[in-house]
Structure formats: structure tokens, C-alpha cells
């Protein structure tokens, strides 16, 4: 403690002293206090540091920190939603700071959303926050070291073997009984949305986490094809939906619109989107057909997909630098007219670029375009859908108050909790109009930061791994998407132009197979990626070499890994 005192700046020490008084008052001697002892110090410091920062920064940077301090003080001494006689529960929560917030918030503790949560659930949260973009490394280290928080809010897909393995390894605890006895809201959600809870259960039916429950397909498709509608109109094209139509459109972009790289995309996204591949009935990774798991790049149909891409590349329709560019570059190309088509998210792509383009050219329009099929009118079975059950809240095995923790999580699925996580704080981020929550203009028309970021300060539920597990409210999405044009339509297009029936997101090898899987897959992917590029860029002839390529992949053991994935897939579906 002494050492830590010396690190704190003068301001922090003052704040620390001031609040010491309040904190002393709240601490009643009982088991919570016992448990809180170790964490208490940290929480106090975290609290005072966070506060000192908020104080300092609201002075220094001029950013208006929405009433953080006053909320805190209320939490200390005032009435709360729950029994105010109960001592404040200390919770250590592991949670990422969302990418969209990294420039606008110093940490999770500064988000109005979490401050409100603390107030309403009578808790003091100490956050363990991994650096943005490096989550996987820190996550593995935390788990490997036994330095667990009370609650993990994370994607257990990052952990080998997934949440089921974490359960087995006793990193986290099964929640079935806890839910049964203490979590009425979660229980109700389980009955209403059994599918979502399947993703967070292991083979024996033990539930390891509370998942993010999605209520509409639109919530699962965040990325898709972005296309210049104004160019389509100028050239007299209707929105393309087949491979041939896209081909004609891109040629038009190249010839009439002077686009140097009509279709730009990064290599990573090309693989993840399965765009075009779906038209030929395959994907770039594992998928299933009638219950049988297959590996796309090893299928005969993949050849046709490669040939199409190769044709597009040779004719200058596909960005010649796609193998090396990054997200920023492709975004910039969309904005300066070098490209007319790419793969991007709805708000970060369609929305943001519409705004960006229209500043200079009011006629410019970007829309979300459908997945390409081979035949007009067909809906492909492949696309990009987010893995359900990827984000979940789990309780670790070192949590000293699992009942308190589950009640905390239960609040998130209550009516009030859902309102908070989806819409934020009434009067600050949304208002009730005719009994319906409506997001306020201070958010929707924000100019000091991107709309999405501002919204994420108050509510992050629908934004992938930014949120805390709750039930996603479709109304939120509809409203936030209306801020920029074409976003809702884009999501609809993407959601309906694919049935996603062949996708198997979220299925990972069973833990006993994962080591073999990883070694073989590394070989296979290294090879497949090399050949993918060589084929597309014409360095190897597809007609001549394709059979050799398939043979090589098989020699590397694709059969074995396919079996492994099949096993995992069957296990999931037989649950």
C-alpha cells in the first residue's frame, strides 16, 4: 500500500483522502467486507484514480464528462434501486474497452453506462481492461496465471476449447443452480430464447455463461458489400445480385467512372466475407451441407470461384494491391473515388462513408448490396454472420460471492437492465415518447465525436463485443441506424440475400482435438492462402495446377481436421 501511495499524484491523494471518509461509512463488517478487503484497496484506488482523472481531464481537455462525479457520490450515500441497507458489493470485472471508445473514454469506469449500472446494482466495479486490440494475448495470460476477476465479459472463443473447456478447467463455474435460485430474469430469458443459451452450454447441459441474446437476424449481420448507388444510377445499372451483374457493374466503374480499383478489399476481408464463393456453393472456411462439414478451399467448386476472382483481377476490377492494403486505405479509396465497391460494416462503412462522400458530393450514395448468386433471384446460403454465443458473461471460480455476481448479471436481463444496456440513461441518451424509448438528438446529431461512439458511452449492447450480455432490442438498432442514410436498408439486404444456412459460426474443435487441429490447420492455411493469392493473381494457372493443389491439401491432413470439426459440429447439435 505504501508503494502504491507514492505513485498516486497529489490530486489523487487528495481525492483519496476525501473519499476515504465516505467509504469507511459504507463498510459494514460481514462477509462482503471480508471478501472486499483485498479488492477494496484496489477499488478505492481505481475509484480515486478514475475520479481524479475525470476531474483532471474535464478541466484539461474540455470534454464534457457526463455527470460522472455526481453519480458516484449518489452511489456512496444515497438511495439505490436495491435495498440501500445492503453493503456495496465489490466486483472485479474483466472487460474490453470497445474500439469505438478508445479515443473518447479513458476506461470502462468512465462510461456513464457503467456508472449507472453501479448505482442501480449497488456495486463498485473494478475493471480489468486489456489494451485495445491486444485482448487475446492478455486474456490468455490472465487465465493462465490464475489472476481471475469475478466476472469475465468476453468471447470465450479466444480460449482454446471455448467456454466448455474453461468450465472443465475450473476457470469458471457452471451457472445452472445459481440461475435457478437467484436469477429470475435470466431464467425467463432461457425459456424465451433457448437457442441463444445452447451456445453457452456444454455437452452435459451445464451453462457456463450468460450470452448476448440476439432477437433479429439483422443484429447478426454487421458487415457486407458496400456499393456506390449513384454510380449505378449514372450508368443505368440496377442493383446487382448475380456474379455476372457484378462483373458488368465493375467494368462500368472501371471504364466510365475512372475507378482505378473498382472493387477494393483487404485480404482478410476477402476471406471472411465469402463473397462470390457463396455463389459457387462454397465458403473460404469450414461450412456444412446437410449436416456434413466441409472445408471450402478443398472443394472442386472452389476452382470456379478462383477463376472468377482471377478474371476480375486480370481485368483490373479487383484492387491490384488487395494483398497488402489495410482497412484505412480501403476506406480512403472509397472516399476518394478510386473504388466503388468494398466490404465493410453498416455504420462504419455505409453510414460513415455516406456522410464523408456527401460532404463534397451531395449525390453520392453508398448502399449495402446483396450477396451474389449465380442465377438471378437465388438466395445464396453463404455469407458472413456473427457467431452467436461469442460474447458471454461468466463467473470465475475465484469469485467469492457468486450469488451476488449472478444477481448482478440478472439485472442486465431485467426490463430495466435491458433498457439501460440498449438505450442508456433516460434524460441523457434517450427519452420516453408515447411509451417507446427514443434516442435523443444529443446523440444522434452529435458533432463532438462519431454518433456510434457517443451512443456507446451510454449503451453498447448491440455492438458486438462492446457490450454486456443482455437481450438486444431491435428498436435500438433501427433508431441508431437511421442516423446515416441507407444503413438499415443495408442490414436488411445483407440479412435477406443470404440464408446463412451453411454457416457454422461459433463451432470450435473439442478440447481434446484442438492441438492436432491447430497444427494441421496452420499447415493447411499457410498453403491454401499462398495458393489462393497465386491463383487469383495469375502466378499459377488454375486449370493446370488445381488438382495438384487439392492433392497437397489432402496430404497435409485436411481429412483429419474435417473429421475433428464434424465431431464438434455433431456434438453441438446433439446437445
Amino acid at each position: 500500500m505504501k508503494e502504491k501511495q507514492s505513485e498516486l499524484t497529489i490530486e489523487t491523494q487528495i481525492v483519496h483522502l476525501l473519499f476515504h471518509k465516505y467509504q469507511r461509512k459504507m463498510r459494514l463488517p460481514n462477509k462482503n467486507y471480508e471478501k472486499g478487503k483485498g479488492n477494496g484497496m484496489k477499488v478505492k484506488q481505481g475509484l480515486s484514480l478514475g475520479l481524479a482523472m475525470a476531474l483532471l481531464l474535464s478541466g484539461c481537455t474540455g470534454t464534457k464528462q457526463p455527470s460522472g462525479e455526481s453519480t458516484r457520490q449518489t452511489a456512496q450515500s444515497g438511495q439505490t434501486a436495491q435495498d440501500s441497507q445492503e453493503p456495496v458489493m465489490n466486483l472485479r470485472v474483466y472487460k474490453q474497452l470497445h474500439v469505438n471508445l478508445q479515443q473518447y473514454a479513458a476506461g470502462n469506469e468512465n462510461l456513464p453506462m457503467f456508472q449507472e449500472i453501479e448505482k442501480r446494482t449497488n456495486t463498485k466495479i473494478t475493471f480489468m481492461t486489456p489494451p485495445v486490440g491486444q485482448e487475446k494475448e492478455q486474456f490468455n495470460l490472465i487465465v493462465a496465471s490464475g489472476d481471475y476477476p469475478d466476472i469475465f465479459v468476453d468471447m470465450w472463443l479466444n480460449y482454446t476449447g471455448g467456454g466448455a473447456k474453461a468450465l472443465k478447467d475450473k476457470v469458471i463455474i457452471p451457472l445452472n443452480d445459481l440461475i435457478d435460485q437467484n436469477a429470475p430474469n435470466i431464467k425467463a430469458a432461457m425459456e424465451q430464447y433457448p437457442e441463444a443459451f445452447r451456445y453457452v452450454a456444454n455437452e452435459e447441459g451445464q451453462i457456463y455463461g450468460i450470452p448476448m441474446v440476439f432477437t433479429d437476424n439483422m443484429q447478426l449481420v454487421t458487415w457486407g458489400v458496400n456499393l456506390r448507388k449513384d454510380w449505378l444510377d449514372d450508368l443505368g445499372f440496377s442493383v446487382p445480385s448475380t456474379v455476372d451483374e457484378y462483373y458488368e457493374v465493375l467494368k462500368g466503374f472501371r471504364d466510365e467512372k475512372g475507378a482505378a480499383s473498382p472493387f477494393t478489399i483487404t485480404l482478410k476481408h476477402l476471406k471472411q466475407s465469402h463473397f462470390l464463393a457463396g455463389a459457387y456453393g462454397v465458403s473460404n472456411e469450414f461450412y456444412q451441407e446437410n449436416g456434413q462439414v466441409k472445408y471450402g478451399p478443398a472443394q472442386p467448386e472452389y476452382k470456379e470461384y478462383l477463376k472468377t476472382l482471377n478474371k476480375w483481377y486480370e481485368e483490373g476490377l479487383l484492387d491490384r494491391d488487395f494483398a497488402t492494403i489495410d482497412d484505412n486505405t480501403r476506406g480512403a479509396k472509397m472516399l476518394n473515388g478510386q473504388s466503388g465497391m468494398t466490404w465493410a460494416p453498416s455504420k462504419g462503412g455505409v453510414g460513415a462513408w455516406n456522410q464523408g462522400l456527401q460532404e463534397k458530393d451531395p449525390n453520392a450514395q453508398i448502399i449495402g448490396a446483396p450477396y451474389a448468386g449465380l442465377v438471378k433471384g437465388e438466395v445464396v446460403g453463404f455469407g458472413k454472420i456473427n457467431p452467436e454465443g461469442s460474447l458471454s458473461c461468466t463467473i470465475s471460480s475465484t469469485c467469492k460471492d457468486p450469488v451476488g455476481a449472478i444477481r448482478f448479471l440478472d439485472y442486465m436481463l431485467s426490463e430495466e437492465g435491458r433498457r439501460l444496456l440498449n438505450f442508456g440513461i433516460e434524460g441523457e441518451s434517450y427519452e420516453m415518447v408515447d411509451g417507446e424509448p427514443v434516442i435523443m438528438d444529443t446523440i444522434l446529431k452529435a458533432t463532438d465525436m462519431p454518433v456510434l461512439s457517443k451512443m456507446n458511452l451510454y449503451a453498447t449492447s448491440a455492438e458486438g463485443n462492446a457490450g454486456v450480455a443482455t437481450i438486444v432490442d431491435q428498436r435500438y438498432l433501427l433508431q441508431i441506424n437511421e442516423v446515416t442514410p441507407n444503413v438499415t436498408e443495408a442490414l436488411e439486404t445483407w440479412a435477406t440475400s443470404s440464408t446463412f444456412e451453411h454457416e457454422i459460426p461459433g463451432i470450435i474443435p473439442l478440447s481434446e482435438d484442438s492441438s492436432r487441429y491447430a497444427s494441421i490447420m496452420n499447415e493447411v492455411e499457410t498453403y491454401a492462402d499462398e495458393m489462393l493469392l497465386k491463383f487469383i493473381m495469375g502466378q499459377e494457372s488454375i486449370d493446370d495446377k488445381y488438382d495438384e493443389y487439392i492433392a497437397a491439401i489432402e496430404a497435409k491432413g485436411i481429412g483429419t481436421v474435417t473429421e475433428i470439426m464434424q465431431k464438434a459440429y455433431d456434438a453441438f447439435h446433439n446437445k
Binding site: 490464475g146 482454446t160 494491391d321 494483398a323 497488402t324 484442438s514 492441438s515 493473381m537
Partner: protein, 310 residues
């Protein structure tokens, strides 16, 4: 004579010698204790972690509780179709860096040393350090830009293609940019060493009629030779350490053939499944090679001149 020998034998056994030495040099051994404390605590205590290389590490079971798998990880690594390729690439890149990158700062330091004009000297020094401060991520961003189809380098060298997609150029780009980044910064140590050379030696050489070149060859270079040799040996000890970050930022599947090194290969595997045992095993292999190289280099150096690490 005989008596002396007998005396020596009696008190010459290890522990006694040590105790005598401590009594004889108390203040020195206090300092030794401080140094030992540091190394034992932070380097030797954690060393048991090396056994992870031979275990199937599972976080839930901890290091001691995890299962032994012997040489399994090593077999996996060396059994890979790409093992030879990544090892070869690692060694090649390291040696190119050594051959081209090692002399560069020395030459630069010598050139800077010859500058008479103090102002110009300071400017050269300060500016040459600048690239060191730009993080790798940015340098690679610039390189990607310059090597793209119509980028600066492509135009300069008349190759109308994305340079980073051509495997034959990868090593050149990688090593050359590395020299660009670190050459200036690495002159610091040599410049410091140069100030330690006795000016009277230069006087003597001039009296003997030596021109600038002669002086450099017979006074300057021998004067900083200990530094050069030390750094060279240490550099050899990093031969397996081609860091993954810059490689990942510059390579792509088209250049795997020449760009994929051990660290990037292990990194990709880690993306699929992070296995501490595997990465520790590969790390151990790297360390063993590095260490052997240093021992060899040190022995050689001791024979050739007096400088050696130990």
C-alpha cells in the same frame, strides 16, 4: 617452494576459497549479492517455466499439474512441412542483417567522427537517430505505401508491380529498412567508444607521417575494436530472433516463401490455438541455437584477440 604449494592445496578447495575471498573483499561481495539477488529472483526463479515446453500446459491445472508430453511439441514443429523453410528464412534474414547491418553504423560513426564542423556533426547525429523513434508499425505502413504498384520504390526501381508481393525482394526490403531504422541509433555506442581513444595516439601517428586513412586504420579501429567485437558476439547471439511484428506487417501469403520466419509461423498457429507448450518449445529451440552460436563466437574471438565476453 614446496611448502607454499602445500599451503595452497589446503585452502584451495572451493568453499574455503570463496569464504576467504569474501572476507578479503567484503565491500565487493556486498555488491555481488545485490547483483545475484536480481538475477536469481527475476531470471532463475522463473526458469522452471522451461518445462512447459515438455508439457501440455493447461491453465486450469497450472504448470506443475499439467501433463508431460515429452518432445511432442518439438516433433510437431519439426514435422511441419514448413519447418525447414521458416528456419532457413530466419537464418538468412539474420545473416543478411549481420553482414550489411553490422558494419553500417560503424562506418557511419567513423564518417561522423571525421567531421570538423561541430554544427554539422551535431545535425548529422541528431537526424540519424530519428528513424529509431518511429514505431515499427508506422515504418511498415510507409513501406507498404512505397512498395505498392505505383509507389515510390516501384517507380524508382522501374518494377511496375507491388514489391511486397515479390518474394525475391522481401529480404532486401526487410533488411534495408532495418538498417535505415537503426543505423543512426547504433552509432551512439561507437561514438562513445571513439571518445575513449587517447588523442596522444593520433599525435604519434601523425608524427610518423600517417594520413587520415592510415590513422583510421591503425589508431581508430583498433581503439574501438573491443566494442566492435563485443557487439558482434552479442549480435550473433540473436541469430534466431527475427521478431514477428515487422514480418507480419510486411508479409503476405505471396511472400511466405522467403518471408515466413519461425516467429511469424508460430504466431499464426497461435491465432488458431494458443498453446503455451508449443511456443515455449520453439522458443527453447531458438535459445539453444543462439547460445551455441555465442559460445562458438566467443571462443573464436578469444583465440583471435583478447576480447571476449567471458
Amino acid at each position: 617452494m614446496n611448502g607454499k604449494k602445500v599451503l595452497k592445496q589446503k585452502t584451495n578447495n572451493g568453499p574455503n576459497r570463496l569464504i576467504r575471498d569474501i572476507r578479503f573483499n567484503p565491500s565487493a561481495y556486498i555488491l555481488v549479492a545485490v547483483v545475484l539477488a536480481y538475477y536469481i529472483t527475476f531470471h532463475y526463479l522463473p526458469m522452471y517455466g522451461v518445462i512447459i515446453a515438455f508439457k501440455d500446459f493447461s491453465p486450469g491445472l497450472g504448470i506443475m499439474g499439467s501433463e508431460w508430453v515429452g518432445l511432442e511439441h518439438f516433433k510437431l514443429f519439426f514435422g511441419s512441412d514448413y519447418a525447414w523453410r521458416v528456419i532457413r528464412n530466419t537464418l538468412q534474414i539474420s545473416f543478411y542483417t549481420l553482414i550489411w547491418g553490422f558494419p553500417a553504423p560503424i562506418m557511419l560513426a567513423l564518417l561522423i567522427n571525421e567531421v570538423r564542423h561541430i554544427g554539422f556533426k551535431k545535425i548529422v547525429q541528431t537526424f540519424s537517430y530519428l528513424p529509431h523513434f518511429i514505431s515499427t508499425v508506422v515504418i511498415c505502413g510507409m513501406l507498404v505505401d512505397f512498395c505498392s504498384r505505383d509507389g515510390l520504390f516501384s517507380i524508382m526501381f522501374g518494377i511496375h508491380d507491388n514489391l511486397l508481393t515479390l518474394p525475391q525482394h522481401f529480404k532486401t526490403i526487410f533488411v534495408a529498412s532495418g538498417i535505415w531504422e537503426s543505423m543512426g541509433w547504433n552509432t551512439i555506442i561507437y561514438l562513445a567508444a571513439l571518445t575513449g581513444i587517447d588523442t596522444s595516439l593520433y599525435e604519434a601517428a601523425k608524427i610518423d607521417g600517417a594520413g587520415r586513412l592510415r590513422q583510421t586504420l591503425s589508431v581508430t579501429i583498433p581503439g574501438i575494436m573491443p566494442t566492435i567485437v563485443t557487439l558482434f558476439i552479442l549480435q550473433i547471439g540473436r541469430v534466431m530472433n527475427v521478431g514477428f511484428e515487422k514480418i507480419i506487417l510486411l508479409y503476405n501469403p505471396l511472400t511466405y516463401e522467403t518471408a515466413d520466419v519461425i516467429s511469424s509461423f508460430v504466431y499464426r498457429k497461435g491465432l488458431i490455438e494458443f498453446n503455451y507448450g508449443y511456443s515455449t518449445a520453439v522458443g527453447l529451440f531458438n535459445s539453444v541455437i543462439n547460445f551455441s552460436m555465442v559460445i562458438f563466437a566467443n571462443r573464436l574471438s578469444r583465440k583471435v584477440n583478447e576480447t571476449s565476453l567471458w
